[in-house]
């Protein structure tokens, strides 16, 4: 799945954002990771990145940093579309997921078009 990428250690979290309208990676898109501070409803921001020309960024969690819990990836998609001169339906996209095994390498890509998005757990 991560063709061309150097070997990353266990327990990291990566993403990949693709613009399905253009068939190109979404570059320069801001991504933020937060963790739910259970048992409450507060989120703690852990990392901020922006995607490179390949639509990827440095891992959002360092090896060993991941713990079991609920996490949120926030993608600044409207800002990205505006930069291309497009309007889009969503001001941002948030993906809320559960880490059950902190040792597992997690890849959470996002496919975007102005009126749609898809996200999945990849490898």
């Amino acid at each position: 799945q991560a063709e061309g990428m150097p070997e990353v250690g266990k327990g990291t979290l990566t993403t990949h954002v693709l613009n399905t309208a253009s068939g190109l990676p979404a570059a320069g898109l801001v991504v933020r990771l937060a963790q739910l501070q259970e048992p409450g409803t507060q989120w703690k921001e852990l990392a901020q990145r922006h995607t490179d020309a390949d639509g990827r960024c440095q891992p959002l969690l360092a090896p060993g940093q991941a713990k079991a819990g609920t996490y949120k990836l926030h993608f600044e998609t409207a800002e990205y579309w505006q930069g291309l001169g497009h309007t889009s339906f969503y001001p941002f996209v948030e993906v809320v997921f559960i880490i059950t095994d902190p040792a597992q390498k997690l890849h959470v890509p996002l496919l975007i078009s102005p009126y749609s998005y898809t996200t999945y757990r990849g490898s």
Partner: protein
């Protein structure tokens, strides 16, 4: 004469097909129509709890309604034309409960869809969400401003 009969039959057939269509895009009766589909079973995703929030002054989310998708995976009446004023909205779908009720442990805690509505007049919004235990996709079909 024959041509007119054929044409009328064709129109009637079209009307019948659109009534029976599993996905009525641009539903004209409801300003916000949510449809949820289970892509593993190729079926509607029924009884998915969905909450509709509107951003209130100060940035907090105000809960407007809380309902479950029907047996066709549809939620036609989450809001009304009167309630659905211009603003920022959030749909929160409790997809984890759906998968757990089928004995599966899903990746996502829930699926959020955040969007601005009606900032250029009243439109009709069809939000489709396609689910699987490790993935979801959402698409919006938005009409031109109506009346």
């Amino acid at each position: 004469m024959a041509f007119h009969s054929v044409f009328l039959v064709f129109l009637a057939g079209l009307a019948l097909c659109s009534e029976a269509a599993p996905l009525n895009l641009l539903d004209a009766k409801h300003p916000l129509y949510v449809r949820v589909v289970d892509s593993v079973r190729g079926s509607p995703a029924s009884n998915v709890p969905v909450k509709l929030y509107k951003e209130a002054a100060g940035g907090a989310w105000e809960l407007l309604n809380s309902k479950q998708t029907n047996e066709k995976g549809g939620l036609p009446e989450l809001t009304t034309k009167e309630q659905f004023v211009a603003g920022l909205y959030k749909l929160e779908l409790d997809t984890a409960s759906y998968w757990k009720s089928l004995g599966l442990n899903p990746f996502h805690d829930h699926a959020d869809v955040v969007f601005t509505a009606n900032d250029a007049g009243n439109r009709h919004y069809n939000i489709v969400v396609v689910l699987s235990p490790f993935s979801y996709s959402t698409t919006a079909v938005v009409s031109e401003p109506v009346e």
